[in-house]
Amino acid sequence: MSRVHTLHSIPVCVQSIEVTIGDNAYQQNRVNQWTTNVVEQSLSQLSKLGKPFKYIVTCVIMQKTGAGVQSASACFWDNTTDGNCSVTWENKSMYCIVSVFGLAI
């Protein structure tokens, strides 16, 4: 994934998070729906960009209680064509981490 395409992916993810969650407080009975919507909207916007990539989009939503969280990834791919980007977003009651992996076809 070129640097330009990585940069295009970031606002797509941020927009899908803001539209889905916005200023809402963490609610156990809604978090399922939020994660599904964030991921599906990000994926559909990315596929509309029309680039020849396969995508993997993951979303983690975690309530803010002072706990720590760490995400790491290791990939076996072609460095010249494939890439990833990660967006960390927060509001007063939760963290949201969205990772996008793009693999060239």
Binding site: V39, Y55, I61, S71, A74, C75, F76
Partner: protein
Amino acid sequence: MDTSDAYIIRPNHRHKFKPAVVRECIREIVRERLSAAKYDPKEVSEQSRSLADCVRDKVKCAGFDRYKLVVQVVIGEQRGQGVKMMSRCLWDADTDNYAEDVFFNFVLCGDCFWNLLLLRIRRYSIRDER
């Protein structure tokens, strides 16, 4: 000169990605490394990175040729918070697949404060079609 591999567009069933095999690899590595571990903010970064590298290297040796691999590790400290992880993929459902494992670790500290490690490893495998 054997060039038959260059004309294979799809894997036959013997060479397809097998989630069950990979799940076992992941489970073995995770249990070996994290059973007695405690969440430490200074070490978790290195721990998660080396775990991802280890899983990727082990699966590379499992014999899935012409597959690209993506391994994602998420380690969280449990303090009673709610957490949800979700993923979606745009890929070729015939050839590409994933395996995941979730691990919980219960460690009782001296003052009866429970530290739990929540680990989700998702390993995605995407066939290289070039």
